[in-house]
């Protein structure tokens, strides 16, 4: 079950159930016992919508990862390949099928393309002489995957690069398709707002797709009041800064993949009496992180500086709860205590894990280099000395710190200065090329094309205007009991989230000037509803806004939006969708040029 998906205002389990149903229907088309051969990349996203038990109910008896040569033996009637439509995977499938035919009983082959079928892949299978072996060739459009009660992602790693570097709109098309699916399940969204070139295009696609479906009137009462489409390139700054929420830091340091994180095992060694320290595990400890875990739901979005006190309070509560056993005198009381034990033990396990994770993070955040890096980031974001060569960045290059770290800082400086002075830019470029290799010229060009690292044009720096108007830098930030979204970066309020906040109140008309400075058009569209479906809001009832980040979103931005949702007089609750959950490092990496 995925109960945590139904905790929010919008029950995302409905979406999950819909995609599960589609999966079951496909499995039932292939009658009899089955084995699934997986494109390994897909197991992560699929894990978020189905467990093995679901597959087993539909006679899936064996599962393998897709690998060359021949398939492992399996006494089943059907072999189904679950794959992304990629040519190199077709080659492997063909190898599997061809070596299979030589052995014994004939079996039925099928292919399920995720998220879509591709003529070109089928052409490839045909060239390899195996296309005719497949009975069912279908697509499974897993566009938006529910991650949490208020979070959906397409997990499309290349989306930013394709949209902003290659101008390939395919992922926008899939975003629009995903939004159509959402509307089919949750009703037409009456108002669409947007900022940015890609946002404009997604809105156009949605309007066009809606026209094509005019035959069937959507009769579902709308759940969402607004849709806000935001281009990532409207706010290039936020992902470059180091996230300072608990979840954000876990992602920055260890990387969260499909809601799982892999951690160094030492801190998680079971400390039981008797086996004193032997058999330390060497494999990384893998933990699932989502709001199904009560403690994690409570601390994930806090500034890391506020996590320690919560953990220690929790520890006291749990200790006290366990102490209760001494007070249990009567059989009834003991019975009650015992009935609570499972819950208490779960809480204790969870506390133990997060205490260990917090310690691991603390080791990093208390290091001198982390402090220095953060200092420089915060100087840039508050507009200090962004037009000179920065000595910390220079030192990072001299000491050959990871290139991604250096690029992230240089890009941050460039964005906070509306581009670098030519002299400064040339200096950084030369240092980087001489220290890390000339071939990175290509990466630097990509960053320039994406607007991340560029010369200042016309000698005009717009960032101070944007910073002041949108109040991006807050001097008095309360990390423990925040009053503003700027707590997620200990001072910097994410631009993207500020735009969302201002849209809901007092409206974008108040910031027209800044909106004109930021790239791309801003717009508003209405999708008329039949009178019967128009919503009459109860007094005090919050609006629900679906905010879609085209090109990726960070955990810190998600935390800031959750903070706004929880404000008592906020008036708006957010459901967040994106092409990819990302951070500054994974983002820069996706823009680096590698051998093809």
């Amino acid at each position: 079950m995925a109960a945590h998906l139904s905790y929010g205002r919008v029950n995302l389990n409905v979406l999950r159930e819909a995609v599960r149903r589609e999966l079951r229907e496909f499995l039932d088309k292939c009658a009899g016992s089955k084995a699934i051969v997986w494109d390994e990349y897909l197991t992560g996203p699929f894990g978020l919508i189905a467990q093995y038990s679901l597959l087993k109910e539909h006679e899936v008896e064996k599962m393998f990862t897709l690998k060359g040569s021949r398939l492992p033996a399996a006494d089943v009637k059907n072999i189904i390949f679950f794959v992304r439509p990629r040519l190199e995977l077709m080659d492997i499938i063909a190898e599997n099928v061809l070596s299979e035919d030589r052995r014994g009983p004939a079996r039925d082959f099928h292919i399920l393309f995720v998220p879509r079928r591709s003529l070109l892949c089928e052409q490839r299978l045909k060239d390899l002489g195996v296309l005719g072996s497949f009975i069912h060739r279908e697509e499974y459009s897993l566009d938006l995957i529910p991650f949490d009660g208020d979070l959906l992602s397409m997990e499309s790693e290349g989306a930013f690069k394709e949209c902003y570097l290659e101008s390939d709109q395919t992922s926008l098309y899939h975003a629009a398709k995903g939004l159509m699916t959402l509307q089919a399940l949750y009703g037409t969204i009456p108002q669409i707002f947007g900022k940015g070139e890609c946002a404009r295009q997604v809105a156009n696609m949605m309007i066009r797709m809606k026209r094509e479906f005019t035959g069937s009137q959507n009769s579902i009462f709308p759940v969402f009041d607004n849709l806000l489409l935001l281009d990532r390139n409207v706010d290039l700054l936020t992902p470059l800064a180091t996230q300072l929420t608990y979840e954000g830091l876990i992602d920055e340091i260890y990387g969260i993949q499909n809601s799982y994180v892999k951690l160094p095992p030492e801190k998680f060694a079971p400390k039981k009496q008797g086996d004193g320290g032997k058999d330390l595990p060497t494999e990384a400890k893998k933990l699932q992180l989502n709001s199904a875990e009560e403690l994690y739901a409570e601390i994930r979005d806090k500034n890391f500086n506020a996590v320690g006190s919560v953990l220690s309070k929790k520890a006291k509560v749990i200790s006290a709860a366990f102490e209760e056993r001494h007070n249990a005198k009567t059989v009834g009381e003991i019975k009650q205590f015992v009935s609570q034990l499972p819950h208490m033990q779960a809480a204790r396990g969870s506390l133990a894990n997060h205490t260990s994770i917090a310690e691991l993070i603390k080791d990093v955040t208390t290091s001198e280099d982390f402090f220095d890096k953060l200092t420089v980031e915060q100087e840039f974001m508050s507009g200090i000395d962004t037009d000179k060569v920065n000595s910390y960045v220079e030192e990072c290059i001299a000491q050959k710190h990871p290139l991604i770290k250096v690029l992230r800082l240089v890009c941050l400086q460039s964005v906070c200065n509306s581009g670098l002075k030519q002299k400064v830019l040339d200096y950084y470029k030369r240092e980087i090329l001489q220290t890390y290799g000339y071939e990175h010229i290509l990466t630097l060009h990509n960053l320039e094309k994406a607007g991340l690292l560029k010369p200042q044009l016309g000698g005009r720096n717009n960032y101070p205007t944007i910073r002041k108007t949108l109040r991006l830098w807050m001097d008095d930030v309360n990390e423990q009991n925040p009053t503003d979204i700027s707590y997620v970066y200990s001072g910097y309020a994410p631009l993207s989230v500020r735009l969302a906040q201002l849209l809901s109140r007092p409206g974008w008309r108040s910031i027209e000037e800044v909106l004109r400075i930021l790239p791309g058009p801003h717009f508003e569209e209405r999708q008329p509803l039949p009178t019967g479906l128009q919503k009459k809001r109860q007094p005090g009832e919050n609006r629900i806004t679906l905010i879609f980040f085209l090109g990726g979103v960070t955990f810190a931005e998600i935390a800031a939006l959750r903070f706004l949702s929880q404000l008592e007089d906020g008036g708006t609750e957010y459901v967040i969708a994106t092409t990819k959950l990302m951070n500054g490092a994974s983002w820069i990496e996706s823009l680096m040029e590698k051998p093809f």
Partner: protein
């Protein structure tokens, strides 16, 4: 901890940054410790299985019953059955396969083409399509057994595109006139579906002459960008360069050509290729870098051949004592300079491998040069060279110590290379800023400097505090006591 500022002080003086502070740090840490303690003590009296009531998770972390877990499980069980041996055998052959490449995107059609480089497998799709004009694009893919034939000859362009979008089988061959083909393309573009756009582009690429294709796409920017992306992905470099030339996008042309060198492994061939990049229409800045890239590889090839020979001969002490860990080929410039400062420090300027020659050829700034030479010489513990690096003589013959990078950084680098305290002390003393000097001296346990500085500052309190940090009964303690008892010093506190 004060930041060491030195000669970059001007950048910092005006900084009123808001730092990310853990000001109640001890408190914070003790909180964590406290919860840790509580957790541990709880284990003492609840000694049943840890994971009992949480979701069951295998140690690898996948929840029991999850898909990735079950793949291991179900695949694992079949090993133990009667087919086990064969299973194992075939598994072993799998292990020779590299893991699947990480995707750049699950969605973009163009990313489907990355697979063509699988060694020795199949010719690239574009080859397949362009070299065999008789082969039609996806017209009659082998019929799946269960699918009935709903083939029709008179789909309009918009119907055709709609069908392609749904993944249905559809022939494009019927569109013979240029007008029909362009209408097909426009329909595809208006759907925004990259998969279909690319499919139509491949058809056009095959059936139209280059000139017409380029001319028509020049006025259709969306389709043009898809074609460029597609050509990049399938690696049709020739057509891509032709296209850039036609569009007069010279810098892209140059970069795109240069990018190819990444795929050339052989150093000689790579060098020759880089030579062809020189003079391409890069920006002025980039032109210089490309030229340097070529010159550097040219040098590295010479140095590598020479040093490999020397090392193999076993006659050179340097290579015997410090065998090379890796070849110098394709290493960045700074790494090459380090290598040359390590193995060829004393060579005359005339040789290609001498540091001075590298410095001149690539116009390496003083700072960069000194940093690198210092790191290399310190690693070899050649303290005399380190000393010489910072010694300058003025015209009267007096010597003076100067460091373009600031002595605080010299100290850090020496410390990293575990220089002895006497050496460190010498350079800590040269740090001008008193606070920085005191900090470094404390950090690296240069007791004399700490003590003398405190004395000079007349800072009795700090000296007292330092007394507790030195060993009992040591010479340092005696020295501190002597100063503390001296009547000649007017303490400021």
């Amino acid at each position: 901890m004060n930041r060491t500022k030195g000669d970059e002080e001007e950048y910092w003086n005006s900084s009123k940054f808001k730092a990310f502070t853990f000001d109640d740090e001890d408190d914070e840490l003790s909180q964590l410790k406290e919860s840790k303690r509580a957790v541990n003590s709880l284990r003492d009296f609840v000694d049943d299985d840890d994971d009992d009531d949480l979701e069951r998770v295998s140690w690898g972390g996948e929840p029991v019953g999850s898909i990735s877990w079950s793949i291991k499980e179900t695949a694992g069980t079949s090993v133990s059955n009667h087919e086990g041996r064969e299973q194992l055998k075939s598994r072993n052959s799998f292990s020779s396969y590299a893991p699947l490449p990480k995707p750049t995107s699950t969605y973009s059609l163009s990313s489907f083409f990355r697979g063509r480089t699988r060694p020795g497998s199949f010719q690239s799709l574009s080859d397949a399509l362009s070299d065999t004009p008789a082969k039609s694009y996806a017209p009659e893919l082998g019929r799946p057994k269960g699918e009935y034939r709903d083939y029709s000859n008179d789909w309009s362009p918009s119907d055709t595109v709609r069908r392609l979008r749904k993944g249905k089988v559809c022939s494009l061959e019927r569109f013979r006139s240029l007008q029909d083909k362009l209408q097909l393309l426009e329909e595809a573009v208006s759907m925004h579906d990259g998969n279909v756009i690319t499919a139509v582009l491949i058809f056009l690429k095959r059936t139209l002459s280059k000139e017409i294709l380029f001319r028509e796409l020049e006025v259709r920017q969306v389709a043009l960008r898809h074609l460029i992306h597609f050509l990049k992905e399938i690696g049709d470099q020739k057509l891509l360069l032709d296209l850039f030339r036609f569009l007069d996008r010279t810098e892209e042309l140059a970069l795109s050509h240069y990018r190819e060198h990444l795929n050339i492994q052989d150093p000689e061939k790579r060098k020759e290729f880089l030579k062809t990049c020189i003079g391409l229409p890069f920006s002025a800045e980039d032109s210089a870098h490309i030229q340097d890239h070529y010159t550097l590889l040219e040098r590295q090839i010479i140095i590598e051949a020479n040093d490999r020979h020397l090392e193999a001969a076993g006659q050179t002490e340097m290579f015997r004592k410090h065998p090379r860990k890796a070849s110098i080929l394709n290493m960045p410039l700074v790494t090459t300079l380090f290598y040359s400062c390590f193995y060829h420090y004393t060579e005359a300027e005339g040789t290609f491998s001498s540091p001075v020659n590298l410095k001149k050829t690539f116009k390496i700034p003083d700072k960069q040069y000194v940093l690198t030479a210092l790191a290399a010489r310190a690693k070899l513990r050649a303290w005399h060279d380190v000393d010489a690096l910072f010694t300058t003589k003025n015209w009267l013959g007096y010597t003076k110590k100067r460091a373009p990078i600031g002595f605080h950084r010299v100290v850090e680098i020496l410390h990293k290379n575990s220089a002895p305290v006497q050496i460190l002390q010498e350079y800590v003393n040269l740090v001008e800023d008193v606070d920085t000097k005191l900090n470094l001296a404390t950090k690296f346990k240069c007791h004399d400097i700490v003590i003398d500085t405190c004395r000079d500052l007349k800072d009795r309190q700090q000296l007292l505090a330092y007394r507790s940090k030195v060993d009992k009964g040591s010479a340092e303690e005696e020295k501190i006591d002597a100063i503390l008892h001296s009547s000649q010093i007017r303490w400021k506190n």
